[in-house]
């Protein structure tokens, strides 16, 4: 039995440790995917407004989170 399968089986016993670990990993995965997608959208010429609409957040929120790095990168 692989380590992953063991952990998956433990999860069905509703162990908070495993469940919370899953949430933490998911959050980190989401952050990475968001950065990747926002960067791609900007490279394709999308406005912050358009990106914000798809992410279902305010334009200010997405700008605050992602714009500074792009500004520094000279784009």
């Amino acid at each position: 039995m692989t380590e992953a399968t063991k952990i998956a089986i433990q999860a069905s016993s509703s162990d908070p440790k495993v469940g919370l670990r899953g949430v933490a990993a998911l959050r980190r995965l989401v952050e990475r995917l968001e950065t990747l997608q926002v960067k791609n959208a900007r490279d394709l010429g999308w406005t912050w407004q358009e990106i914000a609409r798809e992410l279902k957040v305010t334009k200010q929120a997405v700008h605050k989170k992602h714009a500074r790095r792009r500004f520094l990168a000279g784009r």
Binding site: T35, L36, A73, G74
Partner: protein, 195 residues
């Protein structure tokens, strides 16, 4: 704070962040700014460092020797297992991301700013906070630019800021290699006058 930075100077800060991430450091210190300057071989700061005999690889290994490397924040096997436990196949996600964005896309990307985290010195470039000394370096760079009556902040001013800051790791590394502010000033003015 970065409004008057030249393109290469902004680039140096972005490279500095990349270097910090690469070493798995959770702060952006003077040592990363020095590495950032060394990353762009066309910048005045880098050219000055070339003339002063300071190289990227040497500086990087010195930094690792002194402060070590941090723990990687990558999505690892344990994350994959935790995600599988809630029904998400990380390998499949990775495969699809790489299909669209190329190999290693998920690993290369650094997550954006984390809301709610302490912002050291109020000048973070998205995710890693500047140390007080790194911030001091940028303030000194601004001061150097003003003293030279330049209306921009370039990589040469950041380099001058690094040697003048005195207490940080970068200043230490430069001092150990006999790079004084005087020598930097001389080399920079040579470069700026085209010699």
């Amino acid at each position: 704070m970065f409004e008057r930075f030249t393109g290469p100077a902004r680039g140096a800060v972005v490279f500095a962040e990349e270097e910090a991430l690469g070493l798995h450091h959770n702060y952006l210190g003077t040592e990363h700014l020095l590495l950032g300057l060394l990353r762009d071989s066309t910048s005045v700061g880098r050219k000055a460092l070339d003339r002063l005999g300071i190289g990227l690889d040497e500086v990087r290994s010195e930094i690792v020797r002194v402060v070590g490397e941090g723990q990687p924040d990558a999505l690892d096997d344990e994350d994959a297992a935790a995600l599988r436990a809630i029904g998400i196949d990380l390998n499949e996600v990775r495969r699809r991301v790489e299909e669209s964005f190329g190999e290693g896309a998920l690993e290369r990307i650094a997550p954006a700013g984390r809301r709610g985290r302490r912002k050291a010195c109020g000048s973070s470039i998205g995710q890693i906070p500047f140390t007080p000394r790194a911030k001091k370096v940028l303030e000194l760079a601004l001061r150097e630019a003003k003293a030279l009556r330049h209306d921009y902040i370039g990589t040469e001013h950041i380099l001058l800021g690094l040697v003048r800051e005195r207490e940080g790791l970068a200043a230490g590394i430069l001092a150990e290699r006999n790079v004084s502010d005087e020598r930097v000033r001389t080399v920079v003015s040579e470069l700026l006058s085209g010699n």
